[in-house]
């Protein structure tokens, strides 16, 4: 019987430590500049690739680290503590795209697509959302019709992360592929390569913040990909995408935890600078108690995402835990960022102060990969049976 054990393995600790160091030494010093210019940090991404970060949870035969999803999420948390745009890059390329191909792909597809993603040479994008299909992901309009040996795709996808990167290779999309006799629409998942004819990279969105993360619209105008770019079961496209989103939700929770931790770091720095002595700090309650609340929430966020990842690693059902984690970690991170921003007052408002970035970006994660409402819906359904 497996006992309860809150310790990380030696390997998990090692990976976390490497990522923490990398984030503190390489990412954090560049974060302000990345946000200000919106220039994609290709050199940092390349360093992450050479550290094997994009491949942590995948087998060595595909160029991965042979590790587990607990390690991957510890990594995502630590990277996000440096900057969330890189944590988000990992969430999409590893937890969603590489994961989906690894889980569902034919051996040929894995050889062709998985290996470069795992090695971080190429970056993947996940195409689910459309202008009229947000929370209602099934309301998608993109179609893919089989013409001979090719799929001909028409439609568009919105808010797609990573696709604007130079070394983005593919976007895995959901599309309606056929209509059954009874009128039922079948949705499938297809791999679309960025260099496919008829594929257009649309506008880069002007966002409140999060500028170093590439977010674009994409368009398919009689976009053609080979027949064997179909991924998995033709009838189960939506279910397949939803299934891999479960891992994605753990990853978003890890991103938000990293962000919350960074905010806690800032709160502690503030307290040290503001109070002359330990005694004067402890005589006050407002700020010390606020910090206590924050630290409690950060730890809880971490515990729940780790549990979800741990269950996944053991092949157990992690539906509830993944959604608990996403819901809790993202909402608390938003609150924490807002509270610490408040603490800093006017000086925190300046772009040069990291807390201003954390504040602007924290809100986003309550929305991406399923809003809080969607998380609650899934949890409620799961509980009701």
């Amino acid at each position: 019987m497996e006992k309860m054990d809150f310790d990380l393995t030696g390997e998990q600790k090692r990976i976390r430590e490497i990522c923490r160091k990398f984030a503190a030494e390489v990412i954090a010093p560049r974060a302000k500049e990345m946000e200000r210019t919106g220039e994609y940090p290709y050199d940092i991404i390349a360093q992450m690739a050479s550290l094997g970060i994009m491949g942590i949870p995948f087998p060595k035969e595909y160029g991965g680290g042979g590790g587990d999803w607990v390690s991957m999420h510890l990594c995502i948390e630590e990277i996000s503590r440096g900057d969330v745009s890189l944590g988000s890059l990992l969430d999409v390329t590893t937890s969603l795209v590489a994961n989906e191909i690894y889980t569902l792909g034919t051996e040929e597809q894995k050889q062709k697509w998985l290996i470069p993603l795992v090695q971080g040479e190429e970056i993947g994008a996940f195409g689910l959302t459309e202008p009229d299909a947000g929370s209602d992901a099934a309301a998608l309009k993109t179609t893919a019709v089989l013409e001979g040996e090719e799929w001909v795709i028409n439609g568009s996808k919105q808010f797609i992360t990573n696709i604007g990167l130079d070394n983005a290779s593919i976007v895995i999309i959901t599309a309606k592929t056929r209509i059954e006799g009874d009128g039922k629409e079948i949705i499938s998942t297809l791999i679309v390569s960025k260099d496919a004819p008829g594929f257009t990279l649309g506008q880069r969105y002007e966002k409140m913040a999060f500028h170093a993360s590439a977010t674009h619209e994409v368009f398919f105008d009689d976009c053609r990909v080979p027949k064997d770019y179909l991924l998995g079961d033709i009838y189960k496209g939506l279910a397949q995408h939803f299934s891999v989103l479960q891992t994605g939700r753990i990853s978003v929770a890890a991103i938000s935890t990293g962000l919350a931790q960074a905010c806690l770091d800032e709160a502690l720095a503030y307290a040290k600078q503001r109070y002359q002595s330990r005694q004067s700090f402890l005589e006050s309650q407002t700020i010390p108690f606020k910090i206590a609340d924050i630290a409690t929430m950060v730890e809880l966020s971490r515990m729940i995402y780790l549990k979800a990842a741990w269950l996944k690693d053991r092949g157990k059902d992690y539906t509830l835990e993944a959604h608990f984690a996403k819901l809790f970690a993202t909402e608390t991170a938003k609150k924490i960022a807002s509270d610490v921003f408040n603490l800093y007052g006017l000086s925190g408002c300046l772009d040069e102060n990291p807390i201003s970035r954390y504040f602007k970006v924290a809100k986003l994660f309550e929305i991406v990969e399923g809003t809080s409402e969607m998380q609650k819906l899934i949890i409620a359904r799961e509980l009701l049976g």
Binding site: N342, L346, C349, D351
Partner: protein, 379 residues
């Protein structure tokens, strides 16, 4: 007890609303925000129609109205657009020091230009590493005919000296309670002004750092008497808190408007999202919060205009309104979903500006501390 606005107040509110709806162009606002620019042309139009400084006496160009009327205007402006509204609402920042405590000469000299849109005004009080808002390192040294000012001020709203600036100083050689408020004239040469860096919110409000190196000001520019600085500043802060509360109410209302409109248009799962309980619950909470903050704010302004000396509602209004502004803007952005994060849809602007209401003007003791002092009293 009467919760109605009087006819004049209703007219002013209506006029401000119509002006804002007509003149605050969303595309122009987007550009101003991107470039962190003051909405000059809109401000000038607002001045021409008498919206700025309407609480000044008629003999100085105003309309003899009260803080409550000023609150109504600020609220409507911020409702239509948080950024433009805050910039306009703060265009007369600091003038209240002259208005409430200056002599007739000073008022004649400095106030009319603010009303007609020739100058914005400013108050310099924040300093580096300052945790007590009444402790200044900027020093004013007496000489035969005036004072020599030395020191640095930060985050000075409208501090480019394109209008009169009130500077709060410690009187040299006196105890810490001996403070003076001095008017530094428009276009004074000598002070070194540098623009404060790019920031999260209130981006259309000009903010600078300013250094005074032996700047001389005339005795005539002393507001009130020596040693009155702290008293004047305390009162100024209370008036400003109510104005800030008005901004919070307006921003919350504006965010609500945007979210409500969107929720009635956006369809998911074959229904307008305004049909879903989850959204309806949020909107109900938002509307209630806005109303509570509004009532407190109007009460505080009403108390101020009646000189009751009751400042408890001032603190409560500021605190409630600041929190409401952020919570409502947050809910509103959430209702927009992914679109809420995109600049073009405006709501993210309200989100950022809303968070500034609490921070703005606060140093040291927070509203909560002040409320606690008042409700608990001496122990």
């Amino acid at each position: 007890m009467d919760f109605d606005l009087n006819e004049e107040q209703i007219d002013i509110q209506k006029a401000a609303r119509e002006f804002a709806q007509g003149e605050f162009d969303p595309d122009q606002a987007l550009d101003l925000e991107r470039n962190a620019q003051f909405p000059l042309s809109i401000w000038k139009k607002a001045c021409k129609l008498g919206f700025i400084g309407l609480h000044f006496p008629k003999k100085y160009g105003g309309q003899d109205l009260g803080l409550l009327e000023n609150v109504l205007v600020i609220e409507e402006f911020c409702r239509r657009h948080s950024g433009v509204g805050m910039a306009l609402g703060l265009s007369d920042f600091g003038s209240e020091m002259i208005l409430r405590f200056g002599n007739d000469d000073q008022k004649r000299k400095h106030l009319p230009q603010i009303v007609i849109g020739e100058s914005t005004s400013s108050l310099a009080y924040i300093e580096k590493d300052q945790t007590n808002e009444f402790f200044f390192k900027t020093i004013a040294t007496r000489d035969d005919h005036g004072y020599v000012i030395n020191g640095n001020k930060l985050f000075v709203v409208n501090g480019t000296l394109s209008g009169p600036m009130v500077v709060l100083c410690q009187l040299n050689g006196s105890g810490p309670e001996e403070q003076v408020a001095l008017i530094v004239e428009k276009n004074s040469q000598g002070p070194i002004v540098s623009l404060t860096g790019s920031r999260v919110g209130m981006r259309m409000v000009p903010m600078v750092s300013i250094t005074f190196n032996d700047l001389w000001v005339s005795q005539k520019n002393l507001i009130g008497d020596e040693g009155c600085g702290q008293f004047q500043f305390t009162n100024f802060l209370n008036e400003m808190r109510i104005e800030a509360a008005a901004m919070g109410v307006g921003i919350a209302q504006g965010a609500f408007d945007l979210a409500l409109t969107y929720s009635k248009q956006r369809m998911q799962f074959c229904k307008k999202i305004a049909s879903f309980e989850a959204i309806r619950n949020r909107l109900a909470d938002m509307a209630t919060q806005i109303e509570m903050a509004k009532l407190l704010t109007y009460k505080a302004a009403w108390d101020f205009d009646r000189n009751t000396g009751n400042v408890l509602f001032t603190y409560m209004a500021k605190m409630a309104s600041a929190e409401t502004a952020f919570e409502v803007a947050d809910d509103a952005l959430h209702i927009f979903g992914g679109y809420g994060y995109i600049v073009e849809n405006q709501i993210e602007h309200f989100y950022r500006d809303a968070r500034m209401v609490n921070i703005f003007g606060e140093l040291g003791r927070t509203q909560k501390n002040l409320i606690a002092d008042k409700v608990i009293g001496k122990i």
